[in-house]
Protein backbone atom coordinates (compact mmCIF):
# COMPACT_ATOMS: atom_id res chain seq x y z
CA UNK A 1 0.00 0.00 0.00
CA UNK A 2 1.27 3.43 -0.74
CA UNK A 3 0.13 6.97 -0.92
CA UNK A 4 0.35 8.80 -4.18
CA UNK A 5 0.40 12.47 -4.87
CA UNK A 6 2.71 13.90 -2.23
CA UNK A 7 5.03 16.40 -3.84
CA UNK A 8 6.46 17.91 -0.68
CA UNK A 9 4.27 20.98 -0.64
CA UNK A 10 2.23 20.01 2.41
CA UNK A 11 -1.55 19.95 2.54
CA UNK A 12 -2.07 21.72 -0.76
CA UNK A 13 -0.88 18.76 -2.78
CA UNK A 14 -3.31 16.52 -4.55
CA UNK A 15 -3.77 13.66 -2.14
CA UNK A 16 -4.98 10.54 -3.81
CA UNK A 17 -5.69 7.54 -1.60
CA UNK A 18 -5.98 4.11 -3.13
CA UNK A 19 -8.80 1.76 -2.14
CA UNK A 20 -6.59 -0.42 0.03
CA UNK A 21 -5.44 2.55 2.11
CA UNK A 22 -9.02 3.78 2.38
CA UNK A 23 -10.25 0.42 3.66
CA UNK A 24 -7.40 0.21 6.17
CA UNK A 25 -8.28 3.65 7.48
CA UNK A 26 -11.98 2.89 7.68
CA UNK A 27 -11.17 -0.29 9.59
CA UNK A 28 -9.41 1.82 12.23
CA UNK A 29 -5.94 0.73 11.16
CA UNK A 30 -3.12 3.01 10.09
CA UNK A 31 -1.82 1.58 6.81
CA UNK A 32 1.69 0.19 6.96
CA UNK A 33 4.27 2.69 5.76
CA UNK A 34 1.78 5.52 5.74
CA UNK A 35 2.58 7.54 8.84
CA UNK A 36 1.38 10.65 7.06
CA UNK A 37 -2.22 9.45 7.37
CA UNK A 38 -1.92 8.79 11.11
CA UNK A 39 -3.85 11.98 11.84
CA UNK A 40 -6.68 10.83 9.62
CA UNK A 41 -6.68 7.47 11.35
CA UNK A 42 -6.84 9.13 14.76
CA UNK A 43 -9.72 11.34 13.63
CA UNK A 44 -11.69 8.33 12.40
CA UNK A 45 -11.18 6.74 15.80
CA UNK A 46 -12.67 9.87 17.38
CA UNK A 47 -15.60 9.68 14.97
CA UNK A 48 -16.12 6.01 15.76
CA UNK A 49 -16.10 6.85 19.45
CA UNK A 50 -19.22 8.99 19.07
CA UNK A 51 -21.24 5.81 18.71
CA UNK A 52 -19.78 4.21 21.83
CA UNK A 53 -21.80 6.15 24.38
CA UNK A 54 -25.03 5.14 26.05
CA UNK A 55 -28.27 5.20 24.04
CA UNK A 56 -30.26 8.43 24.17
CA UNK A 57 -33.33 8.30 26.40
CA UNK A 58 -36.30 7.14 24.28
CA UNK A 59 -39.14 9.57 23.67
CA UNK A 60 -42.36 9.13 25.57
CA UNK A 61 -43.98 7.56 22.52
CA UNK A 62 -41.14 5.08 22.04
CA UNK A 63 -41.04 4.24 25.75
CA UNK A 64 -44.73 3.52 25.59
CA UNK A 65 -44.27 1.33 22.52
CA UNK A 66 -41.40 -0.58 24.10
CA UNK A 67 -43.38 -1.10 27.26
CA UNK A 68 -46.53 -2.03 25.42
CA UNK A 69 -44.98 -4.58 23.10
CA UNK A 70 -46.99 -7.80 23.25
CA UNK A 71 -45.75 -10.62 25.42
CA UNK A 72 -43.51 -13.21 23.76
CA UNK A 73 -45.37 -15.81 21.76
CA UNK A 74 -46.20 -19.13 23.36
CA UNK A 75 -43.57 -21.82 23.23
CA UNK A 76 -40.56 -19.59 23.86
Amino acid sequence: MKLRGDDGRGWRVRQQLDDAVVEELLAARTPAGADEVARTSAFLEELRGLAQGPPPPPSAALSKMLGAAPAPSAGR
Partner: protein, 182 residues
Protein backbone atom coordinates in the same frame (compact mmCIF):
# COMPACT_ATOMS: atom_id res chain seq x y z
CA UNK B 1 -32.57 -11.40 18.66
CA UNK B 2 -33.87 -10.29 15.25
CA UNK B 3 -36.27 -13.21 15.19
CA UNK B 4 -37.49 -12.27 18.67
CA UNK B 5 -37.95 -8.66 17.55
CA UNK B 6 -40.07 -9.85 14.63
CA UNK B 7 -42.31 -11.52 17.20
CA UNK B 8 -42.52 -8.18 19.05
CA UNK B 9 -40.62 -9.49 22.05
CA UNK B 10 -40.08 -6.46 24.36
CA UNK B 11 -36.75 -7.83 25.55
CA UNK B 12 -35.51 -7.99 21.97
CA UNK B 13 -36.68 -4.45 21.19
CA UNK B 14 -34.93 -3.12 24.25
CA UNK B 15 -31.70 -4.91 23.36
CA UNK B 16 -31.87 -3.67 19.77
CA UNK B 17 -32.44 -0.13 20.96
CA UNK B 18 -29.54 -0.31 23.39
CA UNK B 19 -27.19 -1.74 20.79
CA UNK B 20 -28.12 0.39 17.76
CA UNK B 21 -29.48 3.67 19.14
CA UNK B 22 -26.06 5.12 20.06
CA UNK B 23 -24.84 4.66 16.48
CA UNK B 24 -28.08 5.96 14.96
CA UNK B 25 -27.95 9.01 17.24
CA UNK B 26 -24.28 9.63 16.41
CA UNK B 27 -24.98 9.28 12.68
CA UNK B 28 -27.84 11.78 12.85
CA UNK B 29 -25.68 14.23 14.80
CA UNK B 30 -22.80 13.83 12.35
CA UNK B 31 -25.23 14.81 9.58
CA UNK B 32 -26.25 17.92 11.49
CA UNK B 33 -29.78 16.79 12.29
CA UNK B 34 -31.40 19.00 14.88
CA UNK B 35 -32.90 17.28 17.90
CA UNK B 36 -31.16 14.06 17.01
CA UNK B 37 -32.43 12.30 20.12
CA UNK B 38 -36.04 12.84 19.08
CA UNK B 39 -35.30 11.73 15.53
CA UNK B 40 -33.58 8.62 16.88
CA UNK B 41 -36.80 7.76 18.67
CA UNK B 42 -38.76 8.32 15.45
CA UNK B 43 -36.40 5.96 13.64
CA UNK B 44 -36.97 3.24 16.22
CA UNK B 45 -40.73 3.77 16.19
CA UNK B 46 -40.55 3.03 12.46
CA UNK B 47 -38.35 0.02 13.18
CA UNK B 48 -40.84 -1.31 15.70
CA UNK B 49 -43.76 -0.92 13.37
CA UNK B 50 -42.01 -2.46 10.39
CA UNK B 51 -39.75 -5.18 11.68
CA UNK B 52 -42.36 -7.92 11.77
CA UNK B 53 -42.37 -7.94 7.96
CA UNK B 54 -38.57 -7.75 7.60
CA UNK B 55 -36.75 -10.83 6.36
CA UNK B 56 -33.01 -11.17 6.73
CA UNK B 57 -30.12 -11.52 9.14
CA UNK B 58 -28.59 -9.04 11.61
CA UNK B 59 -26.49 -7.38 8.91
CA UNK B 60 -29.56 -6.75 6.79
CA UNK B 61 -31.46 -5.54 9.84
CA UNK B 62 -28.69 -3.09 10.68
CA UNK B 63 -28.65 -1.80 7.10
CA UNK B 64 -32.44 -1.41 7.18
CA UNK B 65 -32.30 0.62 10.41
CA UNK B 66 -29.74 3.00 8.89
CA UNK B 67 -31.76 3.22 5.69
CA UNK B 68 -34.66 4.47 7.78
CA UNK B 69 -32.31 6.88 9.54
CA UNK B 70 -31.08 8.16 6.17
CA UNK B 71 -34.65 8.86 5.06
CA UNK B 72 -35.15 10.86 8.22
CA UNK B 73 -31.98 12.82 7.47
CA UNK B 74 -33.25 13.60 3.96
CA UNK B 75 -36.60 14.68 5.42
CA UNK B 76 -34.82 16.85 7.95
CA UNK B 77 -32.75 18.55 5.26
CA UNK B 78 -35.81 19.18 3.13
CA UNK B 79 -37.70 20.72 6.01
CA UNK B 80 -34.74 22.79 7.10
CA UNK B 81 -33.75 23.86 3.59
CA UNK B 82 -30.25 24.53 4.74
CA UNK B 83 -26.81 23.01 5.02
CA UNK B 84 -26.37 20.56 7.87
CA UNK B 85 -26.07 22.10 11.29
CA UNK B 86 -22.66 20.69 12.07
CA UNK B 87 -22.69 22.22 15.52
CA UNK B 88 -25.58 20.10 16.73
CA UNK B 89 -23.45 17.14 17.70
CA UNK B 90 -21.17 19.19 19.86
CA UNK B 91 -24.01 21.21 21.29
CA UNK B 92 -25.96 18.22 22.49
CA UNK B 93 -23.19 15.77 23.28
CA UNK B 94 -23.76 12.15 24.19
CA UNK B 95 -26.89 11.47 26.17
CA UNK B 96 -26.71 10.49 29.80
CA UNK B 97 -29.25 7.88 30.86
CA UNK B 98 -31.43 8.51 33.89
CA UNK B 99 -29.76 7.63 37.15
CA UNK B 100 -26.25 7.93 35.80
CA UNK B 101 -24.06 10.99 36.23
CA UNK B 102 -20.59 10.74 34.70
CA UNK B 103 -17.89 13.02 36.04
CA UNK B 104 -18.05 16.60 34.82
CA UNK B 105 -14.43 16.37 33.68
CA UNK B 106 -15.26 13.40 31.48
CA UNK B 107 -18.16 15.32 29.94
CA UNK B 108 -15.97 18.35 29.27
CA UNK B 109 -13.27 16.28 27.59
CA UNK B 110 -15.85 14.45 25.49
CA UNK B 111 -17.47 17.72 24.40
CA UNK B 112 -14.11 19.07 23.32
CA UNK B 113 -13.67 15.97 21.16
CA UNK B 114 -17.10 16.18 19.55
CA UNK B 115 -16.65 19.86 18.75
CA UNK B 116 -13.48 19.05 16.89
CA UNK B 117 -15.11 16.16 15.04
CA UNK B 118 -17.97 18.42 13.92
CA UNK B 119 -15.65 21.15 12.78
CA UNK B 120 -13.66 18.74 10.66
CA UNK B 121 -16.75 17.05 9.24
CA UNK B 122 -17.98 20.45 8.08
CA UNK B 123 -15.18 20.39 5.51
CA UNK B 124 -16.95 17.55 3.68
CA UNK B 125 -19.83 17.60 1.23
CA UNK B 126 -23.18 16.24 2.39
CA UNK B 127 -22.71 12.98 0.48
CA UNK B 128 -19.13 12.54 1.67
CA UNK B 129 -20.14 13.08 5.29
CA UNK B 130 -23.02 10.65 4.95
CA UNK B 131 -20.89 7.89 3.42
CA UNK B 132 -18.12 8.36 5.96
CA UNK B 133 -20.51 8.18 8.92
CA UNK B 134 -22.25 5.11 7.55
CA UNK B 135 -18.90 3.36 7.10
CA UNK B 136 -17.36 4.45 10.40
CA UNK B 137 -20.20 5.15 12.84
CA UNK B 138 -22.77 2.69 11.50
CA UNK B 139 -20.08 0.14 10.58
CA UNK B 140 -21.71 -0.73 7.25
CA UNK B 141 -19.86 -2.24 4.30
CA UNK B 142 -19.49 -0.44 0.96
CA UNK B 143 -22.22 -2.68 -0.45
CA UNK B 144 -24.59 -1.98 2.44
CA UNK B 145 -23.98 1.77 2.22
CA UNK B 146 -24.67 1.59 -1.52
CA UNK B 147 -28.01 -0.09 -0.87
CA UNK B 148 -28.92 2.27 1.98
CA UNK B 149 -28.18 5.35 -0.12
CA UNK B 150 -29.37 3.88 -3.42
CA UNK B 151 -26.04 4.57 -5.09
CA UNK B 152 -23.69 2.31 -7.05
CA UNK B 153 -20.87 0.80 -4.94
CA UNK B 154 -18.35 2.58 -7.16
CA UNK B 155 -19.90 5.93 -6.28
CA UNK B 156 -19.69 5.09 -2.57
CA UNK B 157 -16.01 4.19 -2.94
CA UNK B 158 -15.33 7.45 -4.75
CA UNK B 159 -17.15 9.46 -2.07
CA UNK B 160 -15.29 7.83 0.81
CA UNK B 161 -11.96 8.30 -0.98
CA UNK B 162 -12.66 11.98 -1.55
CA UNK B 163 -13.90 12.37 2.02
CA UNK B 164 -10.71 10.94 3.45
CA UNK B 165 -8.56 13.01 1.11
CA UNK B 166 -10.41 16.16 2.19
CA UNK B 167 -10.03 15.23 5.85
CA UNK B 168 -6.36 14.52 5.37
CA UNK B 169 -5.86 17.97 3.85
CA UNK B 170 -7.84 19.60 6.64
CA UNK B 171 -5.94 17.73 9.35
CA UNK B 172 -2.60 18.60 7.77
CA UNK B 173 -3.65 22.23 7.69
CA UNK B 174 -4.72 22.02 11.32
CA UNK B 175 -1.34 20.51 12.22
CA UNK B 176 0.55 23.16 10.27
CA UNK B 177 -1.46 25.93 11.95
CA UNK B 178 -0.75 24.42 15.36
CA UNK B 179 2.96 24.28 14.68
CA UNK B 180 2.98 27.86 13.40
CA UNK B 181 1.26 29.06 16.56
CA UNK B 182 3.56 27.01 18.78
Amino acid sequence: MIEAARRHDPWAFTRLYQSLAPAVDAHLRAQGVREAEDVTSHVFLAVLSGCSSLHGDETQFRRWVFTIAHRRIVDSRRSDGRRPNVGSLAASGPAVPPGRSPAAEDDALRDLGTERVCRLLSALSTDQRCVLALRVVADLSVEDVAIALDKPPGAVKALQRRALAALRRRLSQEGDDGEAQG
